[in-house]
Structures are given as C-alpha cells and as structure tokens.
C-alpha cells in the first residue's frame, strides 16, 4: 500500500507527520478564532474611552496597592493580537515542544480578555474573584486527592460524590448535636472512611466492577441522606445548624498583596488542603510508602512477587481516600456554615475526578486543575453581580463544559496507573 501524500512543496509526508500537522492546524485555528471572538464580541462593542478597573485589594489591607485600571478596548485588542500572533505562528511554523506552554498562554490571555470585558465601565474585584475561586476549588481538590489515593493503588473511585455528600451530612449533624466543629469534622472523616471500606470490600474482596460499586455507593448515600434529611432533619432543625467555621487569616502571610487574601485568608479547611496536597505529593514520590503504592497501581503482580501485600495496600489506600473525601465533604456544611441540603454536592465529586485526570494523577497537578474549575465556578456565581450578558444557565454549564474539554483533550496524553480499575486475582 502506498501511503504518500504530496504537499505543496512536493515532498512526501509520513503518517505521523500528518497527525502532527493536523494538531497544529486545529490549535492554530482555535487561537485565531479566540482572537476573532475577542475583537468582535468583546472589543468592538466597547466605547474607546471605557476603562476596566480591576480591584486588587481585598479589605482589610495592610499594604494597599493601586487598582489595575486598563483601557478596555486597548487591552482587548492587545490580547487579541497575542492570540492572533500565536495562531499565525502555530499555523505556519508551529511551536515544537513548547506548544503546551503556548496553549496555556493563549488560554490565559483569553480569560484575561474576558475579565477585562466584564469589568468594562465598572470595577471588579479580581482578588476577590480569585479568593472565591480557591474556595470553590476546595471540594474539587479534596475529591481529586481522594481519587488519586485510590487510583494510584489501582482502584477507580466513582463514589467520591457519595463520600463528599455523606461527609457533609454527618459533619453537619454531629457538629449541630455536639456544638463542636472539631467533632463534627471527625464524624465526617470517619463516615468517609467507612464508605471507603465498603468500596474496598466490594471491589477488592468481592471483585465487583469498580465503577458499579462506586455508583452503588453514590445512590445509597443520596438515598440515605435524602431519606434522613426528610424524615429526621426537617422536623428537627436543631440537628442541622452547624456552628460556623470562622476565617482564620495567617498573620503576616495574609498581608501579602494579592496572594495574601487569596491563599492565606481562608478557613482551616483550605489550609488543611494545602498541607494535604504537599504531604500526598511528597509521600507518593519520595517515600517507601509511595513507591509501593505506585507499584501496586502499575503492576500488582510485580509488587506481589516483590513481597508486597497488594490487597492490604489497596484496602488501606481506598480507606484513606474515603477519609480525605469525608473531610472534603464537611467543607460543604461545616466549612461554609450552612445546613445540609439534599444532593448539595452537585457533581463536585465527578469534577474532582476530572481534575485528577487533568492533573495527571499528581496532587500538584490536581490542585492546579481544581483551581481552574473553581475559577470557572466562581465566575458563574457572579453572573448577575457583574452583569454579564450571558444567560446564567450557560455560565452555569461552564465548569461542566470545561471538564469535558479537559477530559477529551488530555486523557490521551496523561497516563493512568496501568493497573487502574483491574481487580487483582491471586490464585
């Protein structure tokens, strides 16, 4: 079979070169499209004199820095230029190994352009937006971490949604009963661990399909919490009013302009999350524990013959994943000072899974991905405040659309642990 394609230059191309060229074309077109959207939809309708005021201080401030005031149209055209430039180069020469970096750059430019457009003629608190993004990202990253703990050992955890929900429920109820936030959190963590144990038993011992098992746990939790919420909580509101967790700004650090309010003026859940991300990262890649976990997830038979107890490792990691998810669930109620509502997790567990995949099964990557999703979520929450002339339902779909794009675009590149999802059979 002849597999030759003539180019304009007359040289024949190989199959792999053709795939590369196609990706180049798609990206280049997308960049140019982004530039066009910015110009036509964002920039043109704006009066030349309009300014966008991006407020960078979030009171209370110690070191005030001036607001970022930008000429709206001008900035937008500049961003469009960046995107168009990138698109032109991508279509002609391409960026070689740096193409992912450029993609990130253009994406950032587009988002920035969007923000400038939204803030045209008014002021928008950029720092506030980012601070909210972090808050919105918290349950997602907890979910992603839970997923990482399980999947690095080779067990798919679809039940994160249910674990989050159960953590929210138990946390709220226990905290309301005891009046103590700490015990409430403990309860949430424990119930998460319990569900993790259930998943582990079903998937490892009884070798139920892991996705089915996770799904079963999800509907079990949805049903139980809904049942109990209606039967018990509605009549007894005192069981559903957890004490509010206060914001605990870290002295000094929280005064850093911009970064301070975003990262260090949050509640303990956020700080716990920072620590957890780092701990799990170091653990997975620099300790004996991590090596063994990863071996079990990649090649359980090899780990078995090396003397590692595969079942034990999987049980342990899945339960740990449950504990983490339970903690994350408590954030919905205790962490936000609200009572439990049926199905209040609204798919965050699944978005967490997407963040895990986006982040390459790496805690740092997942944290980054979670932030991006949190950002999308935060924008959606401010639609009416900011007067964004896009229907709120469309914006509300944004996190989900982003998830699909992420999963479709990146799964091919990111590698799951090789034995992910396969039950280990010892003869």
């Amino acid at each position: 079979m002849s597999a030759e394609t003539a180019t304009a230059g007359g040289r024949t191309m190989t199959a792999s070169e053709r795939t590369l060229q196609r990706r180049q074309r798609i990206l280049g077109t997308v960049y140019l499209l982004a530039a066009t959207v910015i110009v036509i939809y964002f920039a043109l309708p704006i009066d030349g004199a309009t300014q966008s005021r991006l407020v960078l201080n979030l009171p209370p401030v110690t070191f005030a820095i001036p607001d970022l005031v930008l000429p709206s149209a001008g900035t937008l055209y500049f961003m469009a230029l960046v995107a168009a430039f990138a698109g032109a180069i991508q279509l002609t020469r391409g960026f070689g190994a740096r193409w992912a970096l450029v993609l990130g750059l253009v994406a950032t430019a587009f988002v920035f352009a969007f923000l400038v457009w939204v803030a045209a003629g008014q002021s928008m608190s950029l720092t506030g937006l980012l601070q909210t993004s972090v808050q919105r990202a918290v349950p997602i990253v907890f979910g992603a971490l839970s997923g990482i703990l399980c999947e690095r050992a080779g067990v798919i955890n679809i039940a994160i949604e249910g674990m989050l929900l159960s953590g929210a429920f138990v946390g709220a109820v226990v905290a309301s009963i005891t009046g103590d936030v700490g015990i409430g959190v403990l309860g949430a963590v424990l119930v998460g661990g319990l569900l993790g144990a259930l998943l582990a038993v079903l998937a490892i011992r009884y070798m139920v399909d892991q996705i089915v098992a996770g799904f079963v746990i999800n509907i079990l939790v949805i049903g139980l919490t809904g049942f109990l919420a209606t039967r018990v909580l509605q009549q007894n509101q005192q069981l559903n009013t957890p004490p509010r967790l206060t914001i605990a700004p870290i002295p000094l650090l929280s005064d850093i302009p911009i970064l301070g309010p975003i990262l260090f003026r949050q509640n303990i859940f956020v700080y716990a999350l920072f620590i957890l991300v780092i701990v799990i990262f170091v653990g997975l890649f620099y300790t004996r524990w991590g090596l063994r976990v990863r071996a079990v997830g990649e090649h359980p038979k090899a780990a078995d013959t090396a003397g590692i107890n595969v079942y034990f490792v999987r049980y342990r990691n899945v339960i740990m994943g449950g504990l983490v998810a339970g903690l994350g669930g408590a954030y919905f109620t205790i962490g936000s000072g609200v009572g439990f509502e049926r199905e209040m997790t609204a798919g965050r567990g699944f978005i967490g899974l997407a963040a895990m995949i986006f982040g390459g099964w790496n805690p740092l990557g997942a944290a980054g991905a979670g932030l991006i999703f949190g950002f999308a979520d935060a924008i959606q929450a401010r639609t009416s405040i900011l007067g964004i002339p896009i229907p709120s339902e469309l914006l509300g779909s944004l996190p989900y659309i982003v998830t699909i794009i992420v999963v479709a675009g990146l799964v091919g590149r990111a590698r799951a642990p090789a034995a992910d999802g396969q039950p280990y059979k010892k003869e």
Partner: protein, 444 residues
C-alpha cells in the same frame, strides 16, 4: 511473551477501555446461551433444587435489601428510639409493625389491593374498579420510561460502555419531542405522533452521539463525559423553557406549551385514575427490537464483540470507533424515546425536573436485568412498582419516598455482588466464579 507496556494508538487504546461493562455483564452473570460446565456438588448447609438456582441469588438479594431497609426504617423512627430505653421489646415490636405497614403500603401502592379489586368486580362497581386498579396503572405508567432508559444503558453496556447519561439524553429527547408536539398543528395523529416520537429519539441520539464521538476520537471516558452532559442538559432545559418559543404564554414559571392532541400518546382507558398509556407498548416494542438487534443482527454481533474483547474485534476488521458511536447513539435514542413517552403521554407538557431520576434508575435496571432485554423489562417493572408505591406509602405511613431509593441501591449492591450474598447466606459452591468484572481505566 514479555511484559512491555507500550503506549498504544487511539484505536487500540479504545480496544483496551471498552471492555468494562459488557464484560461486567457477561462475567458476572454468565451467558445463558453457553453450556455450563457440570457443577460439582455444593458443600454447605443446603443443596438447592436445580430449578431454583438462577432465581435464588436475585431473590435473596431482594430479601436482603428489604431487610436492611427495615433496619433503616426502624432505626430512624423517633418513637422507636424514644421507647427503646424504657421498653426495648415494645419498641422493637412497634418498629416491626411500622416496617410491615410501610412495606404493605408500598406493595399496595404498586399493584393494588387484591381484596379491593375482587370486591369491585363482584359488586360490578365500575368506579370502585377504576380506583382499585389505579396502583397497577401507576406502576405501568412509572415503568414506561424505565424500560426505555434501562434498555438505553443495557445496550451501551453490551458494547462495553457505561452510559450514565441516560438522564440527560432523556431530557433532550423530551425537549425535541415536546417541540414537535406543540410546534406542528393540523396534522393527523398517525403522522404527528410518530414524528414526535422520532424527534425524541433523535434528540436523545444527539446527546448520546457527543460522548460516543469523544470516546471514539479522543478516548475520553464516557462516565465523565455523560455525567457532565447530564448537568449541561439540565441547564439547557432550564434555559429553553424560558424562551418564548417554548414557554407557555401567560406563565412565568418554566413550563412549556401544551402538546397538541394529535401528538399525544392516548391512555388505555380514559379515566383520570388510570393514566397508563400506549407509551408502554412503544417501550415493549423497543425491547423486542433491541433484543433482535443484539442477538440476531450483524450490528449487534459487533456491539457485543467490541464489548467483550475490543482488541479481537479490531483484528476481525470491526471498526471500534464506529461501533462506539453507533452504540451510544442508539442508547441515546432509546433514552430520548423515554423522554418523548413521558412528555407525550404522561404530562403532555414539559417542565423542569421531568421524569427526574429515570435515567439513573435505568442504570440500576440494566444491572438488575443483567443487560438482557427481557431482564430489563422485568427489572423496570420492579423499580417502577417501587416508585409508584412510594408516594402512597408516604401518604399512608409518613415514611419518606427516599426509602425506595435506598432499597434500590441495596438491591443493586446485592445483585452486583453475588459473592457477597453467598457469603451472607453461606451458600457455597466449589466452582470458582472468578473475577466478576473488568473495569478498565480512564482511556489512557
């Protein structure tokens, strides 16, 4: 053979990842068409009569689920808890009687009270007859979309795909069906109704096409994409029901215009208490079609081959990508048809939260029915009955309808883990069952 882990091109990756669900369906539940190895005598406390064999495990699963459900009912009853300190036996007794009352009400809500029915026949009292047949009618009504969503998920299962998106596909199907339903006038019913139904199927097929294409082209795992598309579908419904095209004039809430009579699925008996309509016939016909498709058509042969061993299917010249897309489209079409059936038969209009949960129930039903059309129909009626009986149960005993969700989850859990049931009831066989299922990874 060496253990090299090669990274593999998209089609082969696809081959590796599509084996999950159908293999789950097959390996867990066995293919009844194959001759099974002669079973050595079972050890343990009971050698059970041959006949009961295949029904035993599902039966025990049901029983176990109801038992756990009873515990949930009793443990959440305030009066029982209060009484427990002073009079434990009395508390227990009350708990048990509450449970019986609840299950009894559930059952009566699902199929009616035989005594009542008999009495009405004897008395030749038409009104009473209508009233007493109401539960069965409601069950049929509930089961109609469930048969279709169950088929939707089961068909995808067979190709190795987890279609969690039946919920969204149903919604989109309903949107299209209702549009055809109220948007066209002056057309006789034998054109309008099929058109509306087909429209629903097309809408659902579109919503299934997207994750199918994504999986085929990029390897994106359909579990995530379908779940995301569900959420997007809900938002889409929110939005469209506020547009002038859809929104019923004179209403501020999100409810659509009313479907023309020429596009409605008529009820069997024109009585407000007997709402069952011809949608169930559509659903049953669909079940027959799916059965034929899976087992007597070349396309179905491919679906099943890809689901069981996509690698070998590729070697046999089957296009895995095309199979995935077609399978998801067909599944979506079935779910869309479910939406159409509800909107054209049950409600005659569309609102937010239409048939909420029918898509997820479809997953449960596909699992219970072991991904076989006949099983799906049976399971759909089971769940449909539970759902229909839940509201009367709540009305009669105050037990929230969520109990039914709990029961459903428990049934699935026990069905999906036959080994668990065996362990609980100490049924032992010497034959190894082997791994029950093989979920593959996220497509990487």
């Amino acid at each position: 053979m060496t253990d090299e882990k090669r990274s593999i091109p998209p089609t082969e990756e696809l081959a590796r990842t599509t084996e999950g669900a159908a293999a789950a369906a097959h390996h867990a539940y066995g293919d009844l068409e194959s001759v099974e190895q002669p079973e050595p005598p079972a050890r343990g406390p009971g050698r059970l009569p041959r006949l009961l064999g295949p029904l035993l495990l599902p039966g025990l699963a049901l029983v176990s689920a109801f038992l756990v459900g009873a515990i949930v009912i009793i443990a959440s009853d305030e009066r029982v808890i209060n009484m427990f300190g002073t009079d434990p036996l009395g508390a227990l007794g009350m708990g048990i009687s509450t449970t019986f009352a609840a299950y009894g009400a559930l059952l009566r809500g699902a199929i009616g009270d035989p005594v009542q029915i008999g009495q009405a026949i004897v008395d030749l009292d038409l009104n009473a007859l209508h009233r007493s047949l109401n539960p069965i009618s409601e069950t049929i009504l509930s089961s109609t979309p469930l048969v279709l969503t169950g088929l939707a998920v089961a068909l995808a299962f067979r190709s190795g795909l987890f279609n969690i998106g039946a919920e969204g596909q149903l919604q989109v199907g309903a949107l299209v069906a209702v549009l055809v339903g109220f948007g066209i006038t002056g057309v006789p019913w034998f054109i309008h109704l099929p058109l509306a139904l087909i429209g629903g199927a097309i809408g659902g097929a579109l919503w299934g096409f997207i994750p199918g294409l994504l999986k085929a082209r990029t390897g994106a795992h359909e579990v995530i994409t379908t779940i995301m598309l569900n959420f997007i579908a809900f938002r889409l419904v929110d939005y469209t029901l506020r547009t002038p095209l859809y929104q019923r004039p004179g209403r501020a809430d999100q409810i659509s215009k009313i479907v023309e009579p020429s596009a409605t699925l008529p009820q069997f008996i024109d009585h407000p208490l007997l709402r069952a309509h011809w949608g169930i016939v559509v659903a049953l016909i669909a079940a027959v079609v799916v059965s034929w498709l899976l087992f007597r058509s070349t396309r179905g042969f491919e679906f099943r081959a890809v689901g069981l061993n996509a690698s070998a299917a590729r070697y046999a010249g089957m296009s895995i990508a095309r199979t995935i897309v077609l399978s998801m489209m067909a599944a979506g079409a079935l779910a869309g048809l479910a939406g159409a059936a509800v909107v054209l038969g049950t409600t005659r209009t569309m609102n937010v939260g239409l048939a909420s949960g029918a898509g997820f129930d479809g997953i449960a039903i596909a699992l219970l029915g072991r991904a076989r059309p006949a099983g799906v129909v049976a399971a759909a009626f089971l769940i449909g009955g539970l759902r229909a009986g839940a509201t009367p149960m709540q009305a009669a005993t105050g037990i929230p309808i969520h109990l039914v969700v709990v029961l459903q989850a428990l049934v699935i859990m026990f069905i999906a883990a036959p080994a668990l049931v065996r362990a609980i009831y100490r049924i032992r066989t010497e034959r190894q069952t082997g791994a029950e299922a093989f979920a593959k990874g996220w497509g990487a």
